[in-house]
Symmetry: C2
Subunit: 269 residues, 2 copies
């Protein structure tokens, strides 16, 4: 094993062990968002083929209700897309034509994997962070943020079945539903986007604005089962769902390792 | 006051008092759904202008994952629609061209009000129930079901700000997040559609299928505030949201009373 392989292997070993314990974040204490409180906000929300539509539509239901704000639905180009279950969504603008958003929302889903080398998208994500604007990833949208290079040294979360890949992007995986690190907010899998968007609403417009939205959308959830996370799902259910991810997880791992290899290559003398 | 006015007034007075206490429904005991368990299912999901997209996209995220099932997104015609916050959705078929679905999903939102006399839509809802198929309303989609005449004597729920109108349609309002009465399932406001769809998934495909979907979409919600229903929201928040509904609520009440008047007219000698 050469130095590069050892480093890569240790990253792999650290994968699950590297998941930090829950961190407490008092949203009212977050000062990073104060500059956004007092001005009109442009919120850009990405859509792309084979995404998971609810990663986007959940947060849309919250953020489209934010006072003094405007949502742009942004496609990689101006064409309509289909989510991985066949729902057609039509962007309002393209990545090239969109106004630079104060808040960029990056959803996930199986289609994220095909975009892990999409230069214009990764550049847009990177410049969002470089310029001190807000980035909000949902589900495996975090892997796109990782590929854009913005998660190095940052705490982040993603879908439970992809947590093990965050480490390859230099991120510190945190097993929480919503994670805030500076102006990067990440939500766990799929429906966690609603919790993340409400948290973001509070950061951007204050607790009362977020509470009004929560009441408006009657978000007092009562799942009929306690099966929404690996720790509580019945074992058979967990095994079945995990095995349904085998193929996409293998692809995601390969891409993540490839990123880590290139990242090491750049950092080694 | 003549007999008709007295009857109408008493319906009005009974409005809030008529909300039943919570009923316990053991989904595994529901036998009305047994005939649907063992065959392929067509699930039709309506979209219309000025609907609330999450009433539809929340359940879509669940029902599009149901084993041995197919979702059709159905418009009143084949044209794309815009939800009340500007999201464009494109149906896969029109009401006239759609296959008759085993399960019809009726979302709500401000645009419901313009459809309360839409003959083809109300006829489709009515024939769904008459033929013993499954009807699932989300939010103020319940008012459309009411206008179709299928809620007489039935327990149902809707958005908290519209509960007082159910009574005019002959329904028994139940202050629960999900209500099952025969093959009519209703969910409360907006995000309650996710809980309703998971409940429906269990009724149609068994508990384990629903639990797999719940784990897949990582639905272990953690709202950042406890403001998702009138009973728990801060008073100022409740007052502000309620007053934002004043105009649409007035229109809904007028339409509901008009339905009740016509209904009485038909039933009186």
């Amino acid at each position: 094993m050469n130095r590069r392989d050892v480093a890569l292997a240790s990253m792999g070993l650290a994968t699950m062990a590297g998941i930090s314990p829950a961190i407490a974040t008092n949203v009212s204490e977050a000062t990073d968002f104060r500059p956004f409180r007092s001005r009109s906000l442009d919120i850009g929300m990405l859509v792309f083929d084979r995404m998971d539509q609810i990663d986007f539509t959940g947060p849309f239901s919250v953020l489209s209700r934010l006072p003094d704000s405007n949502v742009q639905v942004i496609g990689l180009d101006a064409r309509s897309i289909q989510d991985h279950k066949g729902l057609m969504l039509t962007p309002q603008t393209s990545l090239a034509a969109a106004r630079t958003p104060d808040v960029l929302v990056v959803p996930g889903g199986p289609g994220q994997e095909a975009l892990m080398s999409h230069r214009a998208l990764l550049a847009a994500i990177a410049s969002q962070v470089d310029a001190g604007r807000v980035l909000f990833s949902v589900c495996t949208g975090a892997l796109l943020c990782g590929a854009a290079g913005v998660l190095h040294g940052r705490r982040a979360t993603t879908h439970w079945a992809s947590m093990e890949f965050l480490h390859y992007f230099g991120a510190k995986p945190v097993d929480r539903r919503v994670v805030i690190d500076g102006r990067i907010v990440s939500a766990a899998g799929i429906t966690a986007g609603i919790d993340g968007a409400l948290t973001l609403a509070a950061l951007l417009r204050g607790d009362e604005a977020a509470q009004r939205i929560q009441l408006d959308i009657q978000y007092s959830p009562q799942p009929p089962f306690d099966s929404g996370q690996p720790a509580t799902a019945p074992r058979d259910v967990l095994d079945a769902v995990r095995s349904s991810y085998r193929s996409i997880s293998a692809a995601r791992q390969e891409t993540a390792m490839s990123y880590a290899r290139q990242s090491l290559h750049r950092s080694l003398p």
